[in-house]
């Protein structure tokens, strides 16, 4: 297996290799056994992606200059890509295990859908970076380290993995996450140092705990070493300056003050009709007894023969008799009218209980 680095220049005499030509050429060389590549690219897409060494064991190593979009797209574990300088959009798109180091800035949508491996950015990254990162627990969590800041709309729909935004060289920025980041975020953690504003309301911002600090301490030295900035270690490890962003749980999301609480604590005291109506806001359940009855029974002694038919047929046991005087307990009576119906002497009559606000 050739140990030497295979060098490719993709632009010679004004002839540029197309993306297809370059990628197929790389694959050809990998199949010949090469594992180290040094490529002067000319905007070709997907360099370093979806490749593996012929022996399935060796590590692939790419050094790139001037790559096109989607550096390390769909890259696998065992691949390492170092971009000397900046890289355009979609660095590490669907990264599934590679280590990708960009020594300059990244374009938009860096680490989009990354589900494994590590992406190290030595500068700023564009909008929608970290969107839809996710983590399959059977594999190592993806990591996305950014030295400076992200553009707006970062980490949309993030479902897992870890992002670290160090906020270095961002003194003039109002927010190191741009605006409206984390919309739809349901999983994962974002560690961030520096001011943030306008993040979506589906996340919460918290202080670091011991586990967070342990992770960052372990990872930070390695990150800074990869991007040749080890001298910043002390500056970036003052954990008081860091926060973490995590999604609020599904239950928390739908929590709002109940309207009943709003009425009791914020609304006009006594209600807007309070000067006309003293409303206790009691709700009559059906069938209601007491004042909630539509009809109430009235007993007339005149014809009563003390037969107790009404008393025995009342479904609510509301009627009682004492010395031939029959009464209906308004707290039990629902106003059904059965007493009126069964009385052979028409002693009970149902009358309307309709009452108006006086």
């Amino acid at each position: 297996m050739p140990k030497e680095t295979f060098k490719i220049k993709t632009l010679t005499d004004n002839n540029r290799m197309s993306t297809q030509e370059l990628l197929q050429f790389i694959t050809e060389k990998i199949n010949e056994g090469y594992i180290n590549f040094d490529i002067d690219a000319c905007g070709q897409h997907n360099i370093g992606g979806s490749s593996w060494a012929k022996d399935r064991e060796s590590k692939l190593f790419f050094t790139l200059r001037n790559p096109g979009q989607r550096v390390g797209a769909m890259a696998l574990k065992g691949t390492k890509i170092v971009v000397e300088g900046s890289a355009p959009a979609d660095v590490g798109w669907l990264n599934s295990g590679a280590t990708i180091v960009v020594k300059g800035d990244c374009g938009d949508t860096a680490a989009h859908c990354a589900a494994g491996g590590k992406i190290y950015a030595a500068g700023r990254v564009g909008t929608r970076s970290g969107a839809l990162m996710k983590h399959d627990p059977k594999f190592d969590s993806p990591e996305f380290w950014v030295l400076k800041n992200t553009g707006s709309f970062g980490f949309e729909f993030m479902g897992g993995g870890i992002a670290v935004v160090c906020g270095w060289d961002c003194d003039s920025l109002p927010s190191v996450l741009g605006s409206r980041s984390c919309v739809g975020m349901v999983g994962g953690i974002i560690y961030v140092r520096g001011p943030i504003q306008d993040v979506a309301d589906c996340v919460e911002i918290k202080s670091l705990d011991g586990q967070d600090i342990e992770f960052l301490e372990n990872g930070m030295a390695k990150f800074l070493q990869e991007i040749d900035k080890s001298e910043l270690l002390a500056e970036l490890t003052n954990w008081q300056e860091w926060k973490k962003i995590i999604p609020v749980s599904q239950d928390e999301k739908s929590k709002r003050m109940p309207v009943s609480e709003f009425r009791k604590n914020h609304w006009i005291k006594g209600g807007i009709f309070g000067d006309f109506i003293h409303d206790d806001f009691v709700v009559y359940k059906l069938p209601a007894s007491g004042e909630g009855r539509v009809h109430i029974p009235v007993w007339n002694k005149e014809n009563c023969v003390n037969c107790k038919i009404c008393l025995n047929n009342c479904p609510e046991n509301a009627i009682s008799e004492e010395e031939k005087i029959y009464t209906s307990d308004s707290e039990k009576c629902i106003g059904c009218g059965i007493c009126e119906a069964v009385c052979p002497k028409q002693c009970w009559s149902m009358t309307s209980n309709r009452k108006e606000i006086s």
């Binding site: 949309e156 109506i277 806001f281 909630g292 059904c336 119906a341 309709r354 009452k355 108006e356 606000i357």
Partner: protein, 542 residues
């Protein structure tokens, strides 16, 4: 048993018949206790037991449930009996042989009155035959309803075209020479337009609470129209009045108290609405039956107990021009030209003329045009008006919008459309389609009642709002009935419905690719009906 006179009202004449299964009944009395119409009563029935030889036949006496046969106490089909029955022994079923409306007129020499909504439904619904067919795919990206920031607000108030802005330069800066007409940016769905009196105090307050909550907790700038029954002074003098659009109709009910409160108000109302007519009974004035004119309604309105009829016209207004000059000016003057003033009319074949006339608006005081279509609801109406007058909203809204487009003046006087929206379940879809056809926003009343717990529907169930016997405590002023309505649940349900509708509106805006309200974006709509395609000028598809 009394002999039957064939001229008398009979069970078979009634619109609803109680189906009662004696074998399941435990005589608990819950059904008769719950029926607010007194349409069912317990009765003792005699059952003959045949003679077993030498003895004479005897009788069993059993308690049974009997439907009442009378104009006053007939069953409205509200279904409270079946809701409370523990055994499913009773229910109201529609009578296919119903002759009630004939019998009523013949017996009473009166026009038949009804609440709720038209039940004829002969037209079908145009909005259901329209789909949103322009979906952004590869041409331009669909917007994600969940994450995109949409701007759903719409203007309420007069908008001046750029050339009408009176600008001058002062010290190198551009300045306005005159105050601009007042304008509010509001949520495109307005609620209410139902008076204190037509609905119970709990229902009215539930809507007001929901409005305040939607503004202050949820962040949706929803506005509520008061209806023509005045306003409680406590609300007028509170800061929440800024969410209210105060109505003046031909009866001018309640304005005395509003005027008295002016010096003590801490906020301006969101707007004023001059109601000329309503879609459910166009050309007829408001009607509040005496049974609902209780003490506090009498006080707020300044009237005694009586059937309250608002005249079909404002007596002081004789022409469109006069409406603009007199009514709009007076209402603008009431709040010193700080509050936008709009007008509401029933949709009619004449609506375009009216709108064209308003569009001239030389004083810049016409802040909105509300068109109410025939499928709207009402607290009480003569059935003849409810079922046989009116104009569907969709084509008339479209006509008005296109009339403005024709003059290059669309958007100058915002258009709001209503009348039976949400009838078939999807309010957001109805709102969205009308907005695409040119509406700045929509309004709804009846739907709010259904959200709060109204048991009626568009096919004749209940619709007894006019009786004051509303079984749900919504269209009544009776204490024992009103207290059936849980004010907190009613308000919560309205809030929840708006939150859901807001999400659904975004679910429609996303695919169309609009970040802002797609007012007039009829290119987003398609129909498989050629007539609708021609009439509304939207794409025919098949």
């Amino acid at each position: 048993m009394a002999a039957v006179n064939i001229n008398q009202l009979h069970l078979d004449d009634l619109p609803w018949i109680i189906e009662y299964d004696e074998s399941k009944c435990i005589q608990c009395g819950k059904c008769t206790a719950a029926c607010s119409f007194g349409a069912i009563k317990p009765e003792v029935e005699k059952r003959r037991k045949p003679s077993q030889g030498l003895t004479k036949p005897s009788f069993d006496r059993i308690i049974t449930i009997k439907q009442q046969v009378s104009f006053q106490h007939h069953c409205r089909g509200c279904g409270m009996c079946s809701r409370v029955c523990p055994n499913g022994a009773i229910k109201a079923v529609r009578n296919p042989n119903d002759r009630y409306s004939v019998r009523y007129r013949a017996a009473k020499a009166e026009s038949l009155k009804k609440g709720g909504r038209s039940n004829l439904n002969t037209e079908g619904r145009t909005l259901d035959k329209i789909k949103i067919g322009r979906i952004s795919q590869m041409t331009d990206p669909s917007l994600d309803a969940a994450r995109h920031q949409f701007e759903l607000r719409t203007p309420f108030g007069r908008i001046l075209s750029a050339d009408k802005l009176d600008l001058h330069s002062s010290n190198g800066k551009m300045e306005l020479s005159k105050q601009l007409p007042p304008n509010r940016w509001i949520y495109p769905i307005l609620m209410g337009d139902m008076s204190i009196g037509a609905v119970s105090w709990r229902m009215w307050e539930a809507m007001a609470i929901a409005t305040a909550y939607l503004n202050e907790v949820v962040g949706l700038p929803v506005r509520m129209c008061t209806g023509e029954g005045g306003m409680p002074v406590r609300l007028l003098k509170s800061r929440y009045v800024k969410y209210m659009i105060v109505q003046i109709a031909s009866g001018h009910f309640g304005w005395n108290r509003i005027i008295q409160a002016l010096p003590d108000m801490v906020e301006d109302p969101a707007g004023l609405l001059i109601k000329i007519g309503q879609g459910a009974k166009p050309g007829d004035g408001g009607l509040l039956m005496a049974s609902k004119v209780v003490r506090y309604v009498q006080e707020i309105r300044g009237v005694p107990r009586a059937d309250l009829l608002s005249p079909p016209t404002h007596q002081g207004l004789y022409s469109i021009e006069e409406s603009v000059q007199k009514m709009f000016l007076s209402m603008n003057a009431a709040f010193n030209f700080r509050v936008p003033v709009a007008i509401k009319v029933a949709a009619s074949v004449t609506s375009v003329s009216v709108y064209n006339n308003l569009l001239r608006d030389p004083y810049n005081i016409v802040g909105g045009f509300f068109l109410d279509g025939l499928a709207g609801g009402t607290g009480a109406a003569h059935e003849i008006s409810l079922d046989h007058t009116g104009h569907p909203i969709t084509s008339k809204l479209r006509d008005c919008y296109l009339a403005a487009v024709h003059q290059g003046r669309q958007g100058e006087i915002p258009l709001f459309a209503g009348g039976g929206l949400g009838q078939t379940g999807s309010f957001a879809a109805d709102a969205f389609k009308l907005i695409c056809l040119g509406a700045n926003g929509v309004f709804t009343g009846r739907l709010l009642l259904e959200i709060a717990g109204c048991v009626g529907n568009d096919t004749g169930k209940c619709n007894a709002c006019n009786t004051g016997l509303c079984p749900a405590g919504i269209a009544t002023q009776d204490i024992c009935l009103t207290k059936r309505l849980d004010i907190d649940t009613a308000a919560q349900n309205i809030v929840n419905y708006f939150i859901a509708t807001d999400m659904e509106l975004k679910k429609l805006m996303g695919p169309v690719g609009n970040s802002t309200l797609p007012i007039g974006r009829s290119d987003a709509l398609i129909t498989v009906d050629k007539h609708i395609s021609n009439r509304l000028d939207i794409q025919y598809v098949c």
